[in-house]
Amino acid sequence: MPDNKNRRRRLAVFRRLLAYGLLGLLITGFLWPRPVMVEELARWQFGQILAHLVSGADHWLIVQLTLMIVLTWLLGRWFCGFICPLGALMDLTSRLRGLFFKQKFGPTPNAPRQIIVPLALLLLFWLGVTAPFGLLEPYSLLIAKSLWYPGPNLLLIAVIILAIFRGRYFCDHLCPTGFILKILAKSAPFHLHINNSCLGCGACARVCRASCVDGQTQTLDPGRCLLCLDCLAVCPNGSLTWGRIKANANARRRAFLGRLTFGVLAMGAYFTPDALRAKTLGPPSSIPILPPGALSLAHLNAHCSFCHSCVRLCPNQALVPSEHQHPALWNRPVIDAYQGFCQYDCVLCAGVCPTGALVPLSLETKRITRIGTALFERDECVIIRNGTSCGACAELCPTGAVSMVPTKAGRDEPVLQDNLCVGCGACQQACPVRPISAIRVTGLLVQQTADSPVKIKTLDVTMTEDFPF
């Protein structure tokens, strides 16, 4: 049936175009000034939703997650084949395998080692050690700034090279999201299967990047199948069909146990208090300025999966991955006040976070959210040291926490009012003293609320004479 084969091939091409399209959208999305589309894509990443669940989910998130879980339980790992942008990138690069090997791909048996890494990542994540999960969560891995920032993302390069040699090996052995989807999809009732017209040619097994088709036993493992549909396209006589599968009792029992374990873990994660998680990482030696909405160092540590959406979005380039300055924070976002300061009227980073590590803030709340405290070293100030005029810190201070006050010496000096300081870092950046500013901001373990700046009605003065000159 030649037309039947064309239809199968069209299905595979459709899948590929969709996945590549989403990947393209993601990459080009970041070139736009306000990557709205990217925010939406992030909200549909299974791993990010899971991470968000841990930081307290709203009703919409629960609906979304339930929908994705049910669809995966029924239809298999459609997420990995159709949505996952890292998967699409690995599909693209695994096409280069032909340059190195004659043989395309082949089946590998199920083995316990396939679950070691992802299971460990998930357990650690739910205990509050989110760094390893964040490093390998596919969305974060693809779009995050490098662990060796500002250098290239070596981890991503390694995963892409791995894809050339082993196809979607990552999805089966390392990916924490893939692991959960695998548990859910293990005995999907609607899936691809091999019927008895199979000739045993092995074409499907050779093309399978997930190594889920075994030509010898003529079986296909829905737990590992990523629904790339390439096997459909290559089968010479349509022995691979999609439809209702009746799994045997043993397989169903194992799948049920798997799901039960996952459910218990998820519930445990949802109800684990933050206080318990916080203990797993001690405070770093020097406290960095955390982005507004991070609430506390413990909260950020427990929930950030370092996708770095906030880092990319920050209009002042104030947010940087913390790796080189604050090792205890791993790769989480911090404000480098020498590079940029936290814009007073901006809440972009808190709004973009897909995992709830940064809680969304209204502009009013943000304006009085204290993320750090300024420290003024009077002896370092150029005004005191050189007797010249400066005032750069007071000029930039958005709340009036630093103001210029006249002194007996006949010059104006910066004076700090702690209760108004929000710790935005504008004064530190503006200060001309280098390498260490005379006024600088230290972060807070727990973010606080600052006093609102004075709200006296502005006074209009009239002129006494028409031309005072």
């Binding site: 209009p315 901006c346 400066c390 750069a392 007071a394 930039l396 709200k455 003065v461 005072p468 000159f469």
Partner: protein, 308 residues
Amino acid sequence: MNRRTFLKTLAGSALALGLDLGSGLGLSPLAPRRLNAQNFPDLVAVKGSDLTVMFDRGLEALGGLGQFIKKGQTVLVKPNMGWAVTPEGAANTNPALLAHIIKNALNLGAKKVYVFDNTCDNWKDAYRVSGLEKAATEAGATVAPANSDGYFQKIDLPGAKTLKSTQFHELFLEADVILNVPVLKHHGGAKMTAAMKNLMGAIYDRHPLHRLGLDETIPELTLHKKPNLHIVDAARVMLSGGPRGRGDSRYLASQMLIVSPDPVATDAACAKILEANGIIVPRYIELAAQMGIGVADLNQLSVQRLSA
């Protein structure tokens, strides 16, 4: 007449003649600088309620904007748009005034009119919230970014004692005509910002100026290239909490526009407005006069006071 008085008279006349010659050549710091043979005033101050009408009146007194812009020239109009503050806050130049100047420049046959500022707040926010980007674009100007060092070129400042070199925006360097259109405000660090201080938005790195002293370095920004005309928006003057303005800022309803080709005279006039309201005159005006950049003593100049 005895010998002594004769010698005195001779010396006096020689000095007067020398000054006169010097003024003709633009050498003497004391001499009023004349725009051309017709006796236009050195500085025009206009009182009024509408800045665009005040601008027209002021420029009419100076012989028209055509004195400064010739057909086919590239014009830079440099406002103060450093802050993400709405026009009511008077932290930035008035958008209607900027638009009016741009339209006038284009009507005179300017090939291209550019607008930029190296902002203090995030540049996109400052350009947008100030309303200046929209006003300038609609008036026909090209609004250029100034947020990265790639747009700037390092220039040595001839004769500078403190700031030996700085990086100027390439549009500042390339423009045939520069119209400096600041807003007059109190300034926490420099005490006052008007004409000369506004040039800190035409350079890239402001840290050295703060480090070396604002009073000493601000005048030196005019040493490479002087703007052709300074038009100061002093319609509503921030008297405290500058340069951004705060919840408790005081404002002066001065309703004035000051126009002059002399940056020092412009700032001196502006300082008088602030001085009458208790703000100390910044030292950089006197320092600029000593450097021969312009005249600080308004009594030596012809000042025209108008109302519109």
